[in-house]
Every structure is written in C-alpha cells, then in structure tokens.
C-alpha cells in the first residue's frame, strides 16, 4: 500500500517526534517545556510502570515486536534483542550503564586514520553530559575512574559492590589493572523524588520503582507534564515534504485500527532508532527524492554499527551470589581505552564487571553453558547460582560503508518495505575481540576461576545508519541531526554517531539530543 495523496491533514503541531525512546523523549520534553505544541508518535503499545513485571519471560514484551528486520553478516546487530517496543522504546529495558565517550572518540580519522570524524568535539558535548547528569541523576565515583574525561562529579554516591564484584576485582588487581564503580543512571540514594535501587537485578525487565532512569520516569514523563501528546500504536510509514523539496510538512501513520492519518508539523524529528529511521527515510521516496529522503548522496542506512561483545564467565570457590546488583554490572575497567591502535587491531574497549544474572533467558545462567544438559545442567545451575562470576567486553566497531540498512523486497502489513540490516566486522575488529577474550580469561584465572570460559560474540547496541558530519558529501545530517537535504527534518538517536566508541550509548544519546533540542527549539517559528 502506498500513501494516499488525498488523506486530509488532521492536525498541526510545532514539532512531530516519531518514537518515544531516549532520544524522542528528550526532544519532546525540551520542546514542550519551551511551550511548543508537541506530538509524539509511538509505533508500539502504551506501557506504564505497572507493566514492568519482574520476569525474564514477561520482559520479552518490551523487545522489538514491529516489522521484521532481515539480518545478515558475520556479526548481527541483534535488532530483536537490542531494540524496544512500546512507550519508552529500548531505553525502557536499558541497563543504565552511562559512561561518557572519551575525547579520543570524536576525531578517529584525524587521530588514527580510522573511522569517521564527528562534526563536534567532546568539549561541545561536555556541558550537555553535565546537564543531563544533574537532571537525571547518576551514581558513581568520578575520582575512581582515572580514565574519565572532564566533567562534573556524579550527583550520587556509587552503587554498592557486592560479593561477585569483590571476587572478580581481585583478578584485575592481580593483573595490575584498575576498576571503578560503573557510572549508573540508577539511584544509589533517593534522587529528585525517585526511589533508590533495591539491587535485585531486574533491570532488563524494566524498573517499575523509578530507580533506573528510563523514559517513563524521566524525559517522557516530563514531556507529558509539559503538555506533549503521546499517541501509541501510531506506525509512521512516510515523511512528506513540500513541492519544492526543501522542507518536510509532516508524516503519515496508521493507527491500531489500520486507519491512515496525516499530521503536519513545523519540524519533524525521527527518533525511531537506527534501523527504522533509515527505513522510514528510504521508504519516503518521492518524485523529488527518488532514492529516499535525505539520501541525495546514497548515505542513508550506511555505517551501521554495533559494539562487538563477549561475556567471560567463571565459577569461583568463594560465593558470588550473582543475583545481586544491577544487570549492567557493578564495576568498570577502561584502562586501555586510549590505545585504539594496536598490532593488527583497532578500537577502544571496556569491561563491565559483575553483571547480575538470572537463571533463564538469553543472558541467563542456563545459556552461559548451552553445551550441557540433563543432570549435568541441574548440577551446574545449582553451583552457578551461588558461585558464578561474569563480565562483558564491549569493543569499538568500525564504521564501514558496506554495513548498512537497505530495503527488502518484502513488505509489512502497511505496504512498507522491510528493513534489511547487513553488518560484518573486519580484521582489525576481529583482532580486538580475540585479544580481549584472552585478557578476560586471564583476569578470571587471576581472580581464582579454575576454568573460565567465554561466550559467543554478540552485537550490543545499535549505532549509525544516518551519520552526522560537516559535509553533505559524507554525512546525512549536520551536528544537530538536521538533514542536509531538508531544512526542518531532524534525526535523533545513536544513528547519528559517526563512530561507535566503546561505551554504552544511552548517556551520549541524551546529551546529543539535548544539544539538538535546544537548536530546534530556537529554530521553530
């Protein structure tokens, strides 16, 4: 089905925000606070805190349930796991690990001859990191993070280190390496009316007590308080533009009953995560833009990235009680973050240490050893439940033009082509991963694990696909996410990142979006 030109315009807003995740929520909140009339269109269902049931089985309702994404390549971006569904998007099930990008992440092409430079420097983002941090609240110990770039101290003390963290920390010490409490957007103490964490490890199922800074208790809540309207089950299929092709005029979407709508906005922000943003742009092709919107230079969808990751596991003689603490982990190591160039390898990396584990699910205890079953599995489960340790390597990905989102020949129920996501890693990233696994196993042995093992490589987070830059020839948007081709069409979210860095992206998404939001608010008539 294609868009029907005769659809009447039902309503007009100052700002249309497509997507209610981290980026969309910050954008909507800032615009609504500035008195703008804001409409948020969310493809998934309404979700409230009361929906965040403590169960790894029930938690799957928070994962992607929209149009299927075809994936290929030697390292899948894991769209089904890494994306969210419903109000709050992927940020609703984030683990709230909020380190900052480092200063050396922003000009990798200039500094190392690899990747793509950002159109801004760390110093441009620093005030926004600081503002977000103060508004949302982060628990951590800035002094202990000897690798931390400049910035205000955290407003809350670090979350506690439990037995699993203490056991694994010994391995880092023995290897001459450092650890610090993970900077977490999780309240270690009550903060601005939100509860403190109970450390029960249910982050992946969504935190219903408000201790973890998901959009339901931060920017989305603030956006709605300031007057922003949220419409759920609003599947945007197309962005529409004026006859001259210089400005977008609004979007078309289908509601839960399958009725098509058209709404206008002074500006449109696509904040539907990397893959769907690219898909909507490509599917919005018109006579003026036959290759899709913002795609004059065939860059939409390209430079798709994910953080290549490995878990390292071990059984320890000491009790670790791995059910305690945040899912994202208790401690962090970024000792070697500044050394992106290594023999045959490229990229920064970090260790997230002592992740809370549940018995089941993809990242649960049972699946850390998918090779055992029967009575051996029963024995393993009982021992691991009290003595297991885990940590996760998060590596930098290289932005490669051939890693991209394209449109499939298959279509969804609305007639929109499905997205196809292709992602491969190359030799420098492979070498980075292999070296990290060797290091991780050595750390665990040094901590006392007799036979540590590494899990299969997986893609953590999704980044790129609509990268920002200084030139239309090399990027889709400017540093504010404004598309080079269309004056009032903006992209928000990690799809803008020209390089991945090796830290969890949600804090940077917030900071970058806040910077863009201030720009947009200034420029909406």
């Amino acid at each position: 089905m294609t868009a029907v030109k005769s659809i009447p315009v039902e309503d007009a807003f100052d700002l249309l925000v497509v997507g209610s995740g981290a980026a969309g929520s910050v954008m909507a909140a800032q615009a609504a606070r500035a008195g703008k009339r804001v409409l948020i269109l969310e493809a998934g269902p309404a979700r409230e805190l009361s929906d965040l049931v403590s169960s790894q089985i029930w938690a799957r309702r928070l994962k992607w349930s929209g149009a299927y994404v075809e994936e290929e390549g030697n390292l899948s971006i894991g769209h089904g796991f890494n994306s969210g569904w419903g109000t709050g998007g992927a940020a609703k099930h984030q683990y709230a690990v909020w380190p900052r990008l480092h200063e050396n992440d922003f000009k990798t092409k200039t500094r190392y001859g690899k990747g793509i430079d950002w159109p801004l420097e760390y110093q441009d983002l620093q005030p926004y990191y600081d503002k977000i941090q103060a508004e949302v609240g982060i628990s951590g110990d800035a002094a202990a993070e000897k690798w931390r770039p400049p910035g205000e101290k955290y407003p809350m003390p670090p979350t506690p280190v439990f037995s699993q963290g203490r056991v694994i920390e010994k391995g880092f010490q023995a290897m001459g390496m450092s650890v610090a409490p993970i900077p977490l957007a999780i309240n270690s103490v009550p903060y601005k009316g939100r509860n403190a964490c109970l450390y029960d490890g249910w982050c992946d199922a969504g935190c219903p007590i408000g201790a973890l800074a998901n959009p339901l208790v931060t920017y989305l809540a603030w956006a709605r308080e300031a007057g922003a309207e949220l419409r759920n089950h609003a599947q945007v299929t197309r962005v529409i533009h004026d006859a001259a092709g210089r400005k977008v005029t609004g979007v078309e979407y289908f509601d839960a009953e399958g009725k098509q709508h058209r709404v206008h906005g002074q500006a449109v922000v696509l904040a539907t995560f990397c893959v769907q943003n690219a898909r909507i742009l490509l599917a919005s092709a018109s006579d003026k833009y036959p290759r899709g919107l913002a795609n004059s230079n065939d860059l939409v969808g390209r430079f798709l990235m994910t953080h290549p990751s490995h878990a390292v596991y071990g059984l320890f003689a000491d009790e670790t009680l791995p059910y305690q603490g945040p899912t994202g982990g208790q401690l962090i190591n970024q000792d070697h973050y500044e050394q992106k160039l290594k023999a045959g390898a490229y990229g920064s990396y970090q260790w997230l240490i002592a992740n809370a584990l549940k018995p089941n699910d993809l990242l649960g205890i049972a699946n850390t050893r998918p090779d055992i079953y029967g009575p051996a599995l029963q024995e393993f489960m009982r021992k691991a439940a009290a003595h297991m340790g885990a940590m996760i390597f998060v590596g930098e990905d290289l932005p490669l033009a051939e890693n991209r989102v394209t449109l499939s020949s298959k279509r969804d129920q609305y007639g929109v082509p499905l997205a196809k996501a292709t992602h491969n890693i190359t030799a420098p990233t492979e070498a980075l991963c292999q070296a990290a696994v060797v290091e991780g196993l050595a750390i665990f042995k040094a901590a006392g694990a007799a036979e540590p093992w590494a899990g299969q490589r997986f893609g953590m987070h999704i980044i790129g696909g609509t990268i920002m830059g200084s030139s239309p020839e090399t990027s889709v948007t400017d540093s504010y996410g404004r598309c080079h081709d269309l004056d009032n069409l903006y992209i928000a979210g990690p799809g803008l990142f020209p390089s991945s860095g090796a830290v969890n992206p949600t804090f940077t998404i917030h900071a970058l979006t806040l910077r863009s939001a201030e720009h947009i608010v200034r420029n909406i008539p």
Binding site: V53, Y323, N367
Partner: protein, 185 residues
Amino acid sequence: MDQDRRQFLRNTGIVLTVAVAGEVLLLSPAQARAAGLPLQVLSAQEASTLEAITEAVVPGARKAGISQYVDKQLAASHEDSLLMLKYLGVAQSDYLSFYQGGLRSADKLAHARFEKDWPELTSSEVGMLLTDISGTQPEGWQGPPAAFFFFVIRSDASDVVYGTEEGFAEIGVPYMAHIAPPQPW
C-alpha cells in the same frame, strides 16, 4: 480476580482459559497440562516429541508444561508472544514452521536411527540423538538448523523450569520481584 486483570492475563498469552460450569478459569501451562486441556497449535505428536526432548535436556520441563507454554505462545500475537525466539532473528510468521520443522526432523531422526518415537527411546538412545542434534546437522535434517533448534527449545525449557519463582527457589536464588508476575509464566 477482576475483569481487567483477567483481560490483561489473556492478552499476555501466558495463561489458558477454560470454562467450567459457566466459570472461566485461568490456568498456568502446568495446570493446563495437569488438566489435560487440548493444544491449539501443536499436534499431539509434536507435543509428545517436544516434551520427550526437553525433559531430557532440562529435567522438569514436561511437568512444568513446556508443550502448553510453547503452544500458547505460538497462538499469541507477535506483540504478546513471550517466546525467546522473538529476539533470535526469526520472523514471527516463521515461528510455527520453526517448531514444527524441527520436531518433524527430530521424529525422522529417531525413526531412522532406532525406529522409535521419542517417548519410547531409552535414555542412552536419547543421549545419542541429543549429541547429534546439539552438535551437528544430522543427515536429512530439515527445517531450522539442528543446533539452533536445540538451543531454542533448551532455552524454552529453561524458561519454564528455572524462570519461575519455584525455579529460582530450586537453585537457591531469591526471586525478589518488584511486581510479581500474575502467573508464574
């Protein structure tokens, strides 16, 4: 239980309903299995094979209602489905063929090797077949790759055996729910 709660539970697709003397009861898959409720999607043969395999892989899966769980999730909408398959790169339109194809191939393998259905196999015969399925692509296997199929149904079985409050307690893990699931799963 109020009407909203009932509707909520039905919408999640994790419980089964049955009318008894005019009263609609909500049952967990384990209770449904004990009550002998009919399956909606899987055939009796498919359920029998699924139970025999998963019981050997994750002891307790049969009693916990593995067939009722998978069957109900296969009948649910994509948005309501709780299957782990949801984030393993399989399209929802292919969920049913994934399970049916794997179970059919498992049946064929059991007959080719031992001329038996799965419930009739000895434990050593089951062990030999599981070694093949989990580590290789047995000759003539069709449908999803054997090792991937094994991983998925092992995960399903881990869900029903270890992913509940009772399953946590079985291995000494406190459940510590913020909001307890209205049914175990």
